[in-house]
């Protein structure tokens, strides 16, 4: 089966993010760029399905700039078969990115799109659900277990108050949660092979989808920093100050 996996380039989660003084964005010097962690989980799940079935194709897709090739190559080194870079040099909102991916998905006709639940930079948690609606497909968000049987897919989802199980026919969109799997690292032979795997570029404007942003970021501000308080010497003192000073117990 063919599985499409969207991939976003984001700052390493360990990076300290600083907002530029003029509010125009974040400072990108000293930022290490990585694959969005939820997308690594998505790639891993796609590879496991392919390995279990003994055949199939895992196709990566990014809507971004030339630099994003780096993350696509890393995904190819993990084991994906080929990659598509939809080149966009102007910022797009989530609707436009979802439209661009939906257009490619309708041409590629995968049985599954496996996608991260959330990009750790914009924290939107939108694109998988948008994609499912645009394609008219079922969606299973926040997946912690995926089971395939014939045309049917059963997914356990991490929801409020427990775990929900839903089922649906493919094609479908699945968004990954943290407990779905533990992504593999790219091996050295994997990295060598990845260099020769196909990475096609398409200009976003050539897709014929509406791109004008409807969500605009006016400014970015640094949040007020919380001041560190003080150390207490003992449990007894701690409980006392919580009672008499903070008055919370």
């Amino acid at each position: 089966m063919k599985i499409l996996v969207p991939v976003k380039r984001v700052p390493d989660p360990a990076t300290t993010i600083r907002v530029m003084p003029d509010g125009s964005g974040i400072a990108t010097d000293n930022v290490k760029w990585v694959i969005n962690p939820f997308d690594e989980i998505a790639i891993e799940e796609a590879l496991r399905i392919k390995e279990k079935q003994g055949s199939g194709e895992v196709v990566l897709i990014s809507v971004g700039q030339t630099a994003w090739q780096e993350q696509l190559r890393t995904g190819l080194a993990m084991g994906a078969d080929r990659a598509i870079l939809i080149k966009a040099d102007h910022p797009l909102d989530t609707l436009a990115i979802a439209r661009a991916i939906a257009k490619v998905a309708s041409d590629e006709k995968p049985e599954l799109v496996i996608i991260g639940k959330q990009a750790i930079d914009d924290d939107s948690n939108q694109i998988g659900q948008m994609l499912a609606e645009m394609l008219g497909w079922p969606q299973a968000t926040f997946a912690s277990k995926v089971e395939l049987a014939g045309e049917k897919c059963t997914v356990v989802r991490e929801v409020d108050g427990g775990l929900e199980t839903i089922a649906f026919p493919m094609p479908a969109v699945i968004t990954t949660d943290l407990r779905l799997n533990e992504p593999r690292y790219a091996s050295l032979p994997g990295i060598m092979k990845a260099r020769k795997k196909p990475l096609n570029e398409i200009a976003v404007d050539s897709l014929g989808v509406e791109l004008a942003p409807k969500l605009k970021i006016k400014t970015l501000n640094a949040p007020e920093k919380r001041q560190a308080g003080r150390k207490v010497a003992s449990v007894e003192e701690l409980v006392q100050v919580l009672h008499t000073e903070a008055k919370v117990i």
Partner: protein, 323 residues
Amino acid sequence: MGDVLVFAEHRGGHFPKTTLIAVNAGLEMARKRGGHCIAVLSGEGAPAAAAEIAKYGPSKVIVLDHPKLAHYLADAAAQALADLVKKTGAETVLATATAVGKDLMPRLAARLGAPMASEIIAINDDGTMVRPMYAGNALATIELDGPVRVVTVRGTAFDAAKPADSAAPVETVAPELDAAALKMEFVGFNEIKSDRPQLTEARIVVSGGRGLKSGDNFKTVLEPLVDEMGAAMGASRAAVDAGFVPNDLQVGQTGKVVAPELYVAVGISGAIQHLAGMKDSKTIVAINKDEEAPIFGVADYGLVADLFKAVPEMVEEVKKLKH
């Protein structure tokens, strides 16, 4: 007119505090956009929940009635809400960013071709909104263009709606659904039952991290403190990943966001992703044996100690306070 549809989530007729938060945010949005706030419910038990929610200030309550809506599923719910947006001409559709809100609202936005803002924390008078990005390290002021827009609100940023003087009228609407396009099926819900307060509703939250070392220690060491304080229990991702506690307890950027009056972090280092979910708590306490742990950077009161000694002591001290 800037009418606001609030998706009022409930389970079998009972609604969590997050639903009252959505109603209150909807009332604020409607006031600032010169429109009315309309609460919308669907699913089993909706009429009972509708009668209740009607007492919290909306101008009207609508029950969406269709056999395909008996149990919440994103595809049917998105169709039904989109149909209602067309029928009412509403400008904004709003929900709290719960698991259901996060699942449904982007799908609805795509169906409407509308932009969506996730987890807003403020509604400005000029129509812009504020939302955190980068695990809360940046606050973006954003604008949504077009005749319709979709919004989820962060539960910690808005108060719950209060009972009003009179109850709003309740109306039942049968949405038009394209049933052939609905392919999702509910199989089951494995509920994690607990007698403790809800994590997102509790006045006090006591969270444990990898420092607890095992699920057994959560039970024997942390739970007595949680219960003595009448608190909800939370956890770091590391504790959830290790299987010490259920996923539902994860606090952080990619788990639940909480802001109780008192947050006690036990054996948690204070990674940026964890801080994103608790740093707006009123008072923060950290118990950690490493005095360099970043959690102390946000704690009002820090105790450098071995948790296996400090936590049982704390249970005793809190007990003493009660006598």
